[in-house]
Symmetry: C2
Subunit: 301 residues, 2 copies
Amino acid sequence: MSAARPGGPGETLAAWRAQVERGLADAVAAPAEASGAAAELLDAMRYALLGGGKRLRPLLTLAACRACGGTDEAALPAALAIEMIHAYSLVHDDLPAMDDDDLRRGRPTTHKVYGEAMAILAGDALQTRAFEVLARGPLPGATIAQQVAALAAAAGSAGMAGGQALDLAAAGRPADAAAVARIDRMKTGALLTACFEVGALAAGAPEPLRVRLVRCGILVGEAFQIQDDILDLTASTEQLGKTAGKDLAQGKATWPALVGLEAARQRTAALRDEALAELAALGTAAEPLLALVRAAVDRSS
Amino acid sequence: MSAARPGGPGETLAAWRAQVERGLADAVAAPAEASGAAAELLDAMRYALLGGGKRLRPLLTLAACRACGGTDEAALPAALAIEMIHAYSLVHDDLPAMDDDDLRRGRPTTHKVYGEAMAILAGDALQTRAFEVLARGPLPGATIAQQVAALAAAAGSAGMAGGQALDLAAAGRPADAAAVARIDRMKTGALLTACFEVGALAAGAPEPLRVRLVRCGILVGEAFQIQDDILDLTASTEQLGKTAGKDLAQGKATWPALVGLEAARQRTAALRDEALAELAALGTAAEPLLALVRAAVDRSS
């Protein structure tokens, strides 16, 4: 991430990150009447949602809205909702029946701490809460309805959940470049692209600007996933905070496995530069978004 | 259910049921581009959603809207969304880590047919699709936002998911009447009450009318759950289409276990009559709703 030069994008991102953490904590705060297992469910939701993480998706959402001339207040509910969808998907993906992972963000996964039943319910309730937070936001109802539809399309069977199904089925089987690209686009790309789309919607961006942001989001989504796969091969478990080398061990279809590390690195750089070129015309309002795109693609953990 | 006297509530309910089945099938139809595991995910979603069921919740939603003077077109997306939320919760509740059930609606449960990973994803994607269907409906955006918030509140940690957490924790432990009532209200009552609320919202019902419908929904929700527990004790697995006697076997807290069958039956009748009295003032537009409330509480399967 950029250094926090006063007034620069780094300072903006740091302020947004604090705002997102507060908003997420509020979204899963336990009401006074919660007790027993209902309170434990909220504990599990908090554990899954508030356990660190780069908060890339909410920051992208806030930055996309800003790039389109919108306010932070307009974008915040959608930013929180997307992070809650992301968090729910991690809880469920880590379950024994799915990717069976014990470690996430450097800590035991949710089902390791709360048990499988509670982890399934916590994921379910995080998804539900995402849509509730979005629906209770301050934007005009028509905009909220568009955001709910966009987020749901990105998270559902034609997006994230469908991509996870493809990814599980692909483990241990030979895959071609088109199949790998499709999994990446659905499993990770769709939700990252949704950040750009719902951010633009929050700003009330005119159609051509929204389309430009979505195009940029598609590029960033693909670059991000390839970088993820590169890091799975090259970084340590300690650096990642999750088990490294899993894709290879499970025989998963990834770009670096298919074309080699160097070609994969060249592809992320090309995708990143194309995305940055899309945003260059938007001026200073797009600076935090530019900084985020660079950080997301060039990250080392 | 009432006989299909021409123009009577029975005929209305039969027409609604056909409309709901068509709408649900459309909501999980596979697009041409779905293939491989993404197509299998949609298969699992269809298996879970289209496998019969009384469709009580969508019918209640349509009937609540009609009782408030609204049209079927206005209520249909919310009706479909609630059934999808209900279907997702059944898929996840039946998982080995949760209630571990092999039979649902007289057929093997979703995870028995598609495996656990696909069942988790199918439940996830059904929930997502519920909110998408609701958001893409024809109502004014402000109404949609209210419906999304109401449905999410009913389905989340303070409602259905929280109730399931309480229910799992209560298995095999002694419970008092207040604890049992709380579980019933959250696990089953909240979503049934939401049918009345989102139906009234779809009709654009004025606040006092909406409050009356919600009050009625709370009564019906409690009566329905007690009847469910009575049937678990008294009906056969064949009649129910799901494993009978499970609550007793798992030591689950239920009203009949607590106060005895006869007192439980008296309580459902009292709750039903109170709900019917709430609706009596609404005239002929409420007739299908009256018929549904009677059928829901007095059912034998």
